[in-house]
Symmetry: D2
Subunit: 290 residues, 4 copies
């Protein structure tokens, strides 16, 4: 049987035995359907557990046609950053709790995946952020962020002052706990808690949502994802920039965080009946039909 | 002298003598620079005041190369709806208070317009909404809206219940005072008071912002402007739909309001140094550089 | 058997046959326990349905020791205003959906009421608002409001301008859809939808919550209930003041609405295990223990 | 001349030479009016600068009839905690920027203070919080807080989970960046940035305002200041509790922060024409009369 996705990476979370059992069953299932299967974790930690071909994700990212990720949205963020430059499509299998990104349930994964692998899926192209931290004109750090880059106060818990420029135009200076710059994917994560709007995944936009701003008239703004955002730290006892809530770097006064849209998008495959608004309603406890 | 904008409509607000004085001075200024000038109001009311060529806007919209509108943002909304199908670019001259749309000051209009008419301007393409009110499958009313369509409670002041569908997918049902569906242009108007985000004018998006929603987890959402929004009135003692806050229609239970992006955009000309964020800061009293 | 509550008014909603069946069963239950029972509706409409003593509420309010109200929170508001000057304690029996005021379930009312009538209850004293509408120095209308007085735009749907004074001190002028002035009881009703905080019922406070304010820095404020609030209509095409969402009066520019705390409080009896925070969590869908 | 305030402590900020010059002029002014004057800083640091009687605040707090504090609201918080148990009234002299607490301007202080010291003032009694941090049943730390106690995430920047109990009744569990528990005085500080309401200083209330809550239906609640608030840390990578943004302690999972109203209030003296709403309008940039 000729397959669309010949070689598939099965990616799990480090040290999660629940996932591992499901991974091995899924690997077996895929092999029976003539897919070539490689197991992986982000760092390759579980390779000793199994006789299956197994490799760190970075070593195989360029060779696979699809990644099936077992875990929650946090795992998906992590894997998406690793795969984006290889343009490998992803499917997320959640371990019981519906995710915004991992929306195939482990309970029904065999029948859902059978349909999806046969071509019955929809592909979403999601914006990835590329973020740079600069000090005195030097690049200190560079990373992708799928959800958000967050400049915020750090250990001491005192508010920080920063300026925002968009496409080199001054936007505002602000005293606040911080600022979230989020992709549409990240708009339902931390940005939402900070009072930001939901951005539909197809919007080519970023949202800037201040965290506990001192100025009462501050409001979230959604801008074009072709724009470049610069956050310039003006005053702070200490401050940090967080990326996807998974890595961070300390910032000094004068440091600049530059956020742009990455060249490549994340390709997210979803069951063909997938309805973003259904997920919103379930996750956010919005009202059903009256 | 060959002009880019050969024939220019000078449009004022009905019965505004302040504006009329400025209009006549501006007409003279334009004629001296070899532009052909026609005066107009939306309905043609001031034609008796002057010896200048004068006509209702609808009669000349197809014949002019540019409209210069004297008034505030409210007048601009009105004129934009009248001009959008003729693709006539617009310049807004505010009468003292900076507008989001009317951002040439009457105080400096001669020098600013001289530069703009010579080609030193930027052109923005702004999304227009096209809105239909349907009852029992019949089209009751159709109109453009540049800012927003607002379904809301009416005279009795009791909350209404409605369902929202986007691209025929059920989004949510809600009990609220109403719902604002706004263009990026309208995002800084009523939608902002209702808690919606600011959408940069270049975003191809609508924002849906509930007004005083009964469900505490309701949040504004920005969606793709290629989508079709349907608001279906489920229960209400009385309800209305407002367009740009300038016209409205009564609604009955079962009525549907359909909102889409109009085929044509509004072409807004602005001075070449124009900075949207400067306008935001001034209008919303955001902080300057610290 | 000597009873604390010798004579009890059983109050139902007009024309509600569901309630009437429960009312007659409850009347029988109370008579067996040696309470004297009078049936009533707000206007006395169901007196022809039964052989029980029956009278309009206003005629018996001064003679009973307790009112048991069958209905939802809306009915409780209505009855509370009628009883407050007679200091008659109230118990609310909800018809299936938990209310903030009507928190005895009809499903368990016999055992719950047996305990409560035997003295096993807690009594809450709730603040009532007394509201006056004045024009040119004349009193146009006076009423109680248990939840809130709301000055708002009316039919035309355009924002209104008003000034607020507290204890004759100027607080702010505002352009908005309106202003909610609520008691702690009303803080979980319309004021909450407008963005106001929850006020615990024991707080001797009012909350002022603007509705869709034009000024982005507007915020809700809670003030001492000994204060007098004046809302002065400065500019409006049309405007209204609503009381408990149940009655309203049209307002003209220059009209003043004066809101104070009523001399008497509403006495609300609740089961002794009653926990306000449990009700909040259930009604507002707040998280349970993790 | 017999004075109401015989002995006055003049309290300045450590190492602030601007303040010191004004302090000495003010000391001279007071001595000429037959007040006994003692200079102080919180720690007594500036005693070497002058020949005036000078002592650490803690040594003289029990002996003075009034404290005049030169500095901003931050200094006032600090001094208020030191004075509250001695019931010494305070006057705050701001150094140029109007404060909520320091509302006498240094520019007009001589004439304003002359009137106030002669009895022409109003005295406000402000609620102080008393806060305890408990671990395994032991008291780890105890302090006053005039503005607020804030349980929040710490260095790692990940959200924390906590439970709130009021008077030993379970209120809610929440995943959030943190929780602000503020006095009316603190309601215009950090709690306001977090979305809390303004509480008039005379309200006997606390406000609980969640910071970036994960649950979208979370709302601020104002409760009676006779209540005891307990915040129980359920899950966190790391967390802290901050008091007035000036001191903090690290928290471990299982730690409890207990917040109550202190027995004594802060006595704040203000010029007799003082209008709290004027200060609100100026500080929050609310609209003036239209």
């Amino acid at each position: 049987m000729e397959q669309i996705f010949k070689k598939i990476a099965l990616v799990g979370k480090h040290n999660s035995t629940d996932i591992n059992g499901n991974m091995l069953r899924l690997a077996e299932f895929l092999r029976r359907r003539d897919h070539e299967v490689v197991l992986s974790t982000h760092g390759g930690e579980l390779c000793h557990l199994t006789d299956w071909p197994c490799a760190p994700l970075k070593d195989i990212a360029g060779q696979v046609d699809l990644a099936i990720v077992m875990g929650g949205d946090g795992t998906m963020l992590n894997i998406a950053r690793a795969l984006v430059d290889h343009r490998v499509p992803m499917i997320g299998v959640n371990q019981g709790r519906l995710g915004f990104l991992a929306d195939v349930s482990v309970d029904t994964m065999f029948c859902t995946l059978e349909e999806m692998l046969a071509g019955d899926h929809v592909a979403e192209e999601r914006i990835m952020l590329t973020c740079a931290l600069e000090r005195d004109g030097d690049l200190l750090f560079h990373t992708y962020a799928f959800n958000d880059a967050v400049v915020s106060k750090s250990t001491l818990g005192r508010l920080i002052e920063f300026e925002v420029y968009i496409d080199n135009k001054f936007v505002y200076s602000q005293r606040a706990d911080g600022l979230v710059v989020a992709s549409p994917t990240g708009s339902t994560a931390y940005a939402l808690s900070a009072g930001g709007p939901i951005l539909h995944p197809t919007l080519e936009a970023f949202v800037l949502a201040p965290i506990c701003p001192h100025t009462l008239s501050a409001r979230p703004i959604a801008i074009n994802s072709r724009s470049e955002v610069e956050v310039n730290l003006i005053h702070a006892d200490d401050a940090r920039v967080h990326f996807d809530g998974q890595t961070h770097r300390d910032m000094k006064v004068g440091d600049r965080v530059i956020i742009q849209r990455a060249r490549n998008t994340v390709r997210l495959l979803q069951p063909s009946g997938h309805n973003y608004y259904d997920t919103l309603r379930q996750k956010l406890h919005w009202g059903e039909k009256l």
